[in-house]
């Protein structure tokens, strides 16, 4: 079980969180004309990469905030966690 640092609550066990996928995906703006391919990429296409991955988690059984977690998908090492609106260097 992973140990994740919620930027609001501190170190918590994985079972308080739910996974939300790739954090780099940006939803297309509303009312904007976009191609089928672009929309398709947004809805379905995800990288399944090995290594450092920025992903979303929600602290469901805690503060209910969506947070960003930088995790290695192969080793589960967590490098850093961020608030949803935090600038990531």
């Amino acid at each position: 079980m992973l140990h994740i640092k919620c930027p609001y609550c501190g170190m918590r066990s994985q079972n308080e969180f739910s996974y939300g996928g790739d954090a780099s995906v940006k939803r297309p703006e509303l009312n904007k004309e976009i191609s089928d391919q672009e929309w398709d990429s947004f809805v379905y296409n995800r990288k399944s990469l090995r290594g450092k991955h920025l992903e979303l988690w929600q602290h469901l059984s805690g503060c209910r905030q969506w947070i960003k977690v930088e995790r290695d998908t192969a080793t589960h090492e967590i490098f850093n966690t961020y608030k949803a609106d935090e600038e990531i260097s």
């Binding site: 079980m1 992973l2 140990h3 066990s13 739910s18 939300g20 939803r27 297309p28 509303l30 009312n31 976009i34 089928d36 929309w39 947004f42 809805v43 379905y44 979303l56 929600q58 469901l60 209910r64 905030q65 969506w66 080793t75 589960h76 967590i78 949803a84 609106d85």
Partner: protein, 998 residues
């Protein structure tokens, strides 16, 4: 029966407390502190089971967790448990155990015929022998193998025992209480660190209990006892015996199984049987010791052949002799320690040492004691069927290839020692890449992967002095990092005997003309010839060899067999062992009971149970409940001898003719506040929301981004910037997360707050033609006429002094209202409705009637919004705005979603108007068409229409729009039903929706 193999004195057992137990129906006696294994050996019992494949007789091989043979079926307090190691099970008064994998008995076992058929059962025999004819696999081979295989029988009864889970945090977790565990725990604890010290055996001390050493002028055992006593007194230390740390998971999470009550005849009141500890440790010290390595020779699986360390443990801990005429076969000095212990107790052992001319302190001691030693000698084969009665021995050439003349000598046991294998499982599980240590011919942990440090024998250090030095220092240094304390421990004086180098020799060659089975894996019956076959057939990777031969795949996970298997592969392939590599270690280290893993989350406790505030009223009024997600909801209210069918029909009919009341507390409720609330709703729902006036409700549908319907419900504008959203019972949690996702991540600029209020409000739906009259009685001061409170209207009122919200919304399709009050007042509201509704023949109705009402009305619910349907499919496309954008809208343009003959919801009526249609059935054009018969659609929900008094179903049907009036067949192969049906509109009752507006 006397304990003929028990010594007069000695051992750590309590001789004042005699215990009686039964094995295979026969009564024996042992002492408190025995294991089942030690007590059986004390009674001269060496035949305990039959092997997995060949059904060869099985005895005892080890004295602990590494035991591959002595697996029994245990009977305790009217429960039975398979896969119990006799070497681990502590004896209690009244214990009963039976042998497994033998029929009719362990002494005469029919399956032993496999031993003579073994030519047909080579490596990979499953893949070879049973290939032909193909049809025989299911009918003959597989049932036969199933019956023949297996070590014990799982109970089919409910396990009445209690298992607990515990979460713990500590600075240092120390796995194993041998010299390294004790030393590191002691120095860390003295430094103020929070320490958990875990020992899988009942006694602390590990190897100190059996070795002849001296620490600080105390015997090893006394030193261990004094350290444990001191640790137990310290408030920052938790000391646990009978506790196996069996798994090392991510981020230094370790799991430990504590056997709280398995050693007692019966679990004490308020105690669990076992407790599973989830421990998050800052630092982990692995002091799991090592396991002695067997030697491989002919018939080396005969009962009476066992590890020399086990023989020593039975002698020193339990005061039991494994034999009175022992032969010790060794390639290192450890065998001598066992022989010396025998000699000290008046037994005359013979030592066979494969080495040419070894010299050491301990060998000299054996010589001085007058023990007979034969150097350059090996055991060629054990003789005897159910117990060793002699051994064929021979001199071996210096290159270990040639055997001299074989001679037979009498003995009643053969104690083998092939040096030591560090127990590296936990380090490997943490992700540590292990390395091969040439000097000890075994793998040891490499660079730490997580915060683990491996100490002592587990790290390949076999001298006590070095182990203690390392361990005191490790405990000191690691705790200093955490506590910043630096209390130095004075290092005790250590006296131990020096050992000489072991022999790199494990497998005795076959003598000319003999074809003995030489076993590597004692639990899965994998022999040297099986490995040879696998390699001849082209298997190279050790992972493939393992799976093909099943080497190391039994419940002991190859604790005694892995290295000998690797050594053999490397010898045949002419590679070095590290090039062959070892197979992956995975948790659990030792079998863990399913009960412990599940813990208390069984039956009713498997999930929380939510009850509405009116629950006790439902109970008192004969409600029959159904699980709806985590909620308990009344399914129907039973009157007299009514069946579910009769009761739900009565309740639904009463709604259509009079008035009914239904508990709708379980609906998800979300309170939405903020100036941008309308904008949020406009983006979340498919329809337009910006112009909803205050005091009005609207039905809405929300999609996922892929265009599939996520949920539906009504949302009411309570005030300018305040909305009350309802969701379905099942999707309540998902919808809240969905809103939070968009508000926090996608549109953080929207100034809106959302919070669940599901449990803050109790809800009652009042439905039926007389509902308005009842509502008037409940709220005499309000104008609830069709003009005062029109369809989709909302008002706030006061229910005899209680704040109430009234929504004019309808799921049943009748004139209907929903009244909400704060949860604490739910019961008051409900009783008022029942009391004042008497004159209108009000009746409560449950979920079954609720379903009937919505199905015949054609209202969609979870069975249609099943994660595969878009708004068009469920006839909700009228609610999809063409003008504005919303979540998922772009997906609705997809080709499949705009196809002309897209699936759509329809109604289904059986032609005979009698036969009920099973939910989940398929719709086909031709019932007699050959398989696979093309499916056109499926039945999503079925009911007995109370309006038409015949069965009615909803279905999602391909090209449903153009199928109205067509005749099809419903097929349910599961229920063996074929029903001719007619397709009708999904709105079977009041298609124009006049009633809700009346």
């Amino acid at each position: 029966m006397t304990q003929a193999f028990r010594l007069e004195n000695g051992g750590l057992i309590n001789r004042d407390k005699k215990l009686s137990f039964k094995f295979n129906g026969k009564t024996y006696y042992g002492f408190e502190g025995d294991t089942l294994a030690s007590a059986l050996i004390a009674n001269g019992v060496h035949l305990v089971g039959r092997s997995f494949k060949y059904h060869r007789p099985r005895g005892f091989f080890g004295a602990g967790v590494d035991e591959p043979y002595a697996i029994v079926q245990l009977y305790r307090n009217n429960e039975t448990e398979p896969n119990i190691k006799a070497t681990e099970q502590e004896l209690f008064d009244g214990l009963e155990a039976k042998s497994v994998n033998c029929w009719p008995s362990v002494n005469f076992d029919i399956g032993a015929i496999n031993n003579f058929l073994k030519i047909f059962l080579p490596a990979g025999f499953y893949y070879k022998t049973f290939m032909w004819p193909k049809s025989f696999w299911y009918r003959v081979y597989e049932p036969f193998i199933r019956k023949a295989a297996g070590l014990g029988v799982a109970s089919t009864k409910h396990d009445k025992e209690r298992y607990e889970h515990k979460y713990e945090y500590c600075d240092l977790l120390i796995a194993g209480s041998g010299p390294s565990g004790l030393a590191s725990a002691y120095s860390a604890a003295k430094n103020g660190a929070r320490v958990i010290l875990a020992e899988d055996k009942p006694r602390f001390g590990g190897s100190l209990l059996t070795s002849d050493v001296n620490i600080g002028n105390q015997s090893g055992e006394d030193w261990a006892n004094s350290i444990i006593a001191e640790l137990k007194e310290m408030p920052n230390v938790v000391v646990k015996n009978r506790s196996q740390v069996f798994g090392y998971y991510d981020h230094n999470m370790l799991v430990m199984s504590e056997k709280v009550s398995d050693h007692l005849p019966k679990t004490k009141k308020y105690h669990p049987k076992q407790r599973l500890w989830y421990i998050r440790a800052k630092e982990v010290l692995i002091s799991s010791g090592s396991i002695e390595r067997p030697l491989v020779f002919g018939n080396n699986d005969t009962p009476g052949v066992m590890l020399s360390s086990a023989a020593k443990e039975y002698l020193k801990v339990y005061g039991v002799l494994v034999g009175k005429n022992p032969l010790v076969f060794t390639n290192n000095d450890s065998g001598y320690e066992t022989a010396i212990e025998f000699k000290k107790n008046g037994i005359n052992p013979i030592i066979l040492d494969s080495r040419v001319n070894p010299q050491s302190e301990i060998i000299n001691e054996a010589i001085n004691l007058g023990i007979k030693i034969k150097f350059s000698y090996v055991v060629v084969a054990a003789q005897g069927y159910k117990k060793v009665n002699s051994a064929d021995i021979a001199k071996i050439s210096d290159d270990k290839k040639q055997l001299g003349t074989v001679e037979n000598i009498k003995c009643d046991c053969i104690c083998v020692s092939g040096f030591w294998t560090p127990t590296i499982h936990l380090a490997s599980q943490s992700g540590n890449k292990t390395k091969f240590k040439e000097e000890i011919d075994a793998f040891v942990p490499g660079k730490s992967k997580q915060n683990e440090t491996t100490l002592g024998a587990a790290n390949g250090i076999f001298t006590l002095e070095e182990t203690l030095k390392d361990s005191f220092t490790a405990g000191q240094d690691l705790s200093k990092k955490i506590t910043n304390n630096d209390n130095k421990i004075s290092f005790p004086n250590v006296v131990e005997k020096k050992s000489s180098q072991h022999d790199k020799f494990w497998c005795v060659p076959l003598p000319e003309g003999k074809n003995y089975k030489r076993f590597l894996d004692f639990q899965n019956d994998v022999s040297v010839s099986d490995i040879e076959i696998a390699l001849k057939e082209g298997y190279r990777s050790i992972e493939h060899v393992k799976r093909y031969t099943t080497l190391g795949m039994a419940t002991d996970q190859g604790k005694t067999s892995n290295l000998n298997g690797l050594q053999l592969v490397s010898d045949i392939e002419n590679k070095v062992v590290p090039a062959v590599g070892h197979t992956t270690f995975r948790p659990p280290y030792t079998p863990i009971s399913i009960g412990a893993i599940v813990g208390r989350e069984v039956g009713k406790h498997s999930k929380p149970t939510r009850k509405s505030p009116m629950h006790s009223w439902h109970e008192k009024n004969n409600a029959v409940f159904v699980d709806a997600g985590v909620w308990l909801r009344p399914r129907y209210y039973k009157q007299g001898n009514e069946t579910l069918f009769e009761a739900s029909k009565r309740e639904a009919k009463n709604v259509r003719t009079n008035v009914g009341v239904c508990d709708v507390t379980t609906l998800g409720k979300i309170d939405i506040k903020g100036p941008d609330s309308a904008e949020l709703l406009n983006r979340v729902y498919t329809s337009a929301w910006l112009k909803l006036p205050v005091g009005k409700a609207r039905y809405g549908v929300m999609l996922r981004e892929d265009g599939i319907v996520m949920d539906d419900g009504t949302t009411t504008r309570i005030s300018e910037n305040h909305y009350h959203m309802t969701t379905t019972t099942a999707q309540a949690a998902n919808v809240l997360s969905h809103l939070e996702y968009y508000l926090q991540l996608v549109w953080p600029e929207l100034n809106v707050n959302v919070v669940s209020t599901t449990e803050q409000w109790a809800g009652a739906a009042i439905a039926g033609p007389k509902s308005r009259k009842l509502l008037q009685k409940l709220f005499p001061n309000n104008d609830v006429s069709n003009e005062g409170l029109p369809f989709m209207g909302y008002m706030e009122s006061d229910l005899f002094g209680v704040k109430a919200r009234i929504f004019r919304i309808s799921f049943s399709g009748e004139l209907a209202y929903e009244v909400n009050v704060e949860s604490d007042n739910g019961n008051f509201m409900w009783e008022k409705i029942i009391e004042l509704g008497q004159e209108f023949q009000v009746q409560p109705y449950g979920t079954e009637a609720l379903s009937t009402l919505r199905i015949e009305m054609g209202h969609v619910a979870g069975s249609e919004l099943d994660g595969r349907t878009i708004p068009y499919d469920t006839s909700l496309d009228g609610l999809v705005s063409k003008k504005k954008d919303f979540i998922g809208k772009r997906s609705l343009n997809r080709e499949a979603f705009t196809s002309e003959n897209r699936q759509k919801i329809v109604g289904v009526v059986p032609l005979d108007k009698k036969t009920s249609i099973p939910e989940g059935s398929h719709l086909v054009k031709d019932a007699k068409a050959p398989l696979p018969n093309k499916k056109l659609g499926h039945i999503s929900a079925s009911c007995w229409s109370v309006e038409h008094d015949n069965p009615f179903s909803l279905a999602i049907l391909k090209d449903g729009k153009n199928m109205i009036g067509k005749k099809l067949f419903v097929m349910s192969p599961l229920k063996n039903k074929v029903i001719p049906v007619e397709i009708v509109s999904s709105h079977y009752v009041d298609p124009k929706g006049e009633r809700v507006r009346s």
